[in-house]
Amino acid sequence: MTDASHPAPVVGRGLRKTFRRETGETVTALDGVSLAVERGSLTALVGPDGAGKTTLLRLICALMKPDDGDLEVMGIRVAAAPQAVQDILGYMPQKFGLYEDLSVQENLDLYADLHGVSLEQRQAVYPRLMEMTQLGHFRDRLAGKLSGGMKQKLGLACTLIRSPQLLLLDEPTVGVDPLSRRELWDIVLKLVREEGLTVLVSTSYLDEAERCDHVAVMHAGRVLAQGAPEEVTARAAGCTFLADAPDGIPARSLQARLFALPGVIDAVPEAGRVRVVRASAEDRAPLTVDGVDVPLEAVPARFEDGFMLLFHAVANEGVRNTMTLQGRRDGSSEAVAVEVHDLVRTFGDFTAVDHVSFQVRRGEIYGLLGPNGAGKSTTFRMLCGLLPASGGTLKVAGADLRTSRAAARERLGYVAQKFSLYGQLSVDENLDFFASAYGLRGARKRERIAWAKQQFELDRFSALPSGQLPGGFKQRLAMATALLHEPEILFLDEATSGADPLARREFWGRITSLSEQGVTVIVTTHFMEEAEYCDRIIILDAGRNLAEGTPSEVRSHAKSADDRAPTMEDAFIAIVENARRTRSAA
């Protein structure tokens, strides 16, 4: 691999990188990482947030200097000739630096000029890039006006203008809907398989890592395992089972109980059943829930199962995934918590939400799914009383949002997509402020704050400014503040976007126990497998209701090509594409 004519694309040995925070403490981003990328391969860096993936990519493209270790890119020592490295590689950062006030064409021209691509070469390259990304119709559109998925494709096109010898992609699909995500991956796979490009991609999507030739699983600045994805999968061989939920118990309740059992590493709802990963293939003891043995069916392992096993070994903190409310919500589960009828919202002559109706019963978990720009966020904002509806009726906890918005707001909690707490205030100060904002005072306020800190295990961070909390704890604090006033309904807008698999399991465990105690939960998400946690889901596209029902009802819309059961993602893509075809035919 290392002969002079064909040097290996990336060879890193013992890479170390530390940062100093403003508070003076030192954070180790990379702790002795060694990595090799083979020519013409697709390699994934996979791991949770803060594992060091971005830092590693930045070292490779000479945007940062390692504190220690050797790094060669295409046979060039990065430390000795950073510019030479930057001349030959293509890099797409996480927030790709598109100039939003330049058009698609102007962005492309800029990067073509910077890379010194001649006008004749452009004649050949542009049509191919346009065909690949299907941005041809949008050449004159400003990049800022593109959807999230199209922006990512344009970013990719900008890095491909000059046929790089090595392409680095930093979490290219974060915040991108399943359709655009699949399109983006088709492009990347084509580049590797047909054009022989070498690609190094970082991701927190485990299904993406599974499609790569080579993976490096990272955690806390170290590489836990390196090799073909099958090698990671093989670690879970014989450990994975599917469990059937007894009648009347939702799969997610069984999942929460199984997850809490000793010897169970992972449990996730899957197609109405629960997928269980046990710590050891030798462990044959029956799993007992509520005194009953749960029937288990052995199934082949997936990459995710092996990944969770690897992680269990290093991050065995015993994630707490249940919580107890102070007062159980009483009332029948037949009561309607949220009622939306014929909801319309227009912005000028653009209809963002087009006659949508649905009902959510008390204690249900209801999911709003859809591609970018489907009208999810608009619907959400109307439900929370942040945006008035143009037409239709909206009742939340019995209050009509068109007439008594304040009354409804008191009974709902809202966790925004972005971290929306005060970063400079400490955990305690944030809780105190939000408690006061919800009208709590005196003993009641102290009691509620104490409850929140205990339930979300925030005590050890009391005095830390919330902006400096580790990612997962920010999420917890946001949820804690939303629950201070004991709302009947909790709204969560893409709450797990960018969260790692461990944090997402913990999050869903909490949601499940909230719903068991009578809190109604409405969520939006980009992770289709998370829809399995919901009682019912609705799929929106272009403001319209495309499908509604239980996860298994929605899944049955899709017919998979091979004989495996269709996943929620297959169903989602089939439903949206079908609706789009019908619409463009009409």
Partner: protein
Amino acid sequence: MNADDRPTVRPGGALRRIAALIRKETYQLLRDPSSVAIGIVMPLLLLVLFGYGLNLDVKNVPVALVMEDTSSDARGAASGFELSEYFDTVTVKTMAEAERLLLAKTVNAIVRIPSDFARRVELGSAEIQVIVHGTDANTARISLGYAQGAVGTWLAREAARGRLLAPASISIENRLWFNEANESTYFLVPGLIVLVMTLIGALLTALVVAREWERGTFEALFVTPVRSVEVLLGKTVPYFVLGMIGLALSVIGSLLLFGVPLRGSVLVLTGVSILYLLVALGIGLVISSAMKSQFLASQICMVVTFLPAMMLSGFMFDLRSMPWVIQLVTYVFPARYFVSLLQTLFLAGNVWSVILPNAAVLAAMATLLMGLAVRLTRKRIG
């Protein structure tokens, strides 16, 4: 897409990259309403504001006129006040009444023409008593000057009629050099140029560079064959052009709207403005390479460039009347040198003994700051 053996550095690559960056920056500048507002609208707005609104001249000072003498000479002298645009007169009978008005601040000054005025005019020792309310020392001093002027007007009128009177006991010595009309517009309007250049050069540049850091656009840009000097040039050139447009607007506005004389040469004015603009651009680039947030960059720019340009440059307040410590501080800020160049070029002419040392300081500062900006801009993150 196999391009392993393509040369990575082509002849003319740098020029093409710089041109591409300049083009990109220009598109962004033209599409961003706030840049156009700061570059074009603001100079015009400041010109109108400073030219018409902010006026340091003292006009229409309310004055109580105490006529103890009713002779034609007394009335003639009084008419000097009544006809002056600098005074609004109220005629009262007694000194007591006038004093009451003065204490109530209804009037700012009392002009008393004593009962023996006419007699003493003949004797050549006439007196007009002027009492000015001293709370606003500046207005007081100027009012006193105007009073002398008003009497002088009367004397001149009498002289024109062939009646030569010795200038009475009031000496007339209020002529200001280079600003005979004592119009503050004459020195305010050229001073505007320093504000416009500071805002465009330092503030706008710091903001656009910090914006690239904030939006993460630099990260992708850096991993291309582009060199950091090229990035700096791409940023500097469009804002340099915008600054020169702001200069042209301010100069043309001063000349046409306010009739400010331009006694020095246009060429020298352009030259020293270029020097100052380079200094301002350098400050903007240095600040933004250290502060990677737009908010911080704009705050620091305001404190380091705009406020000193306003307060410590001699544009609004005379440097000589400041405490010596503050006077020393003003030498640090480039605006001081530019204002003194501007005032000299507009009101005095090509006075080389002033122009050369000031321009030399600006040139040195420009070289230093630009060099620092190049050193500080690294294609690195964090």
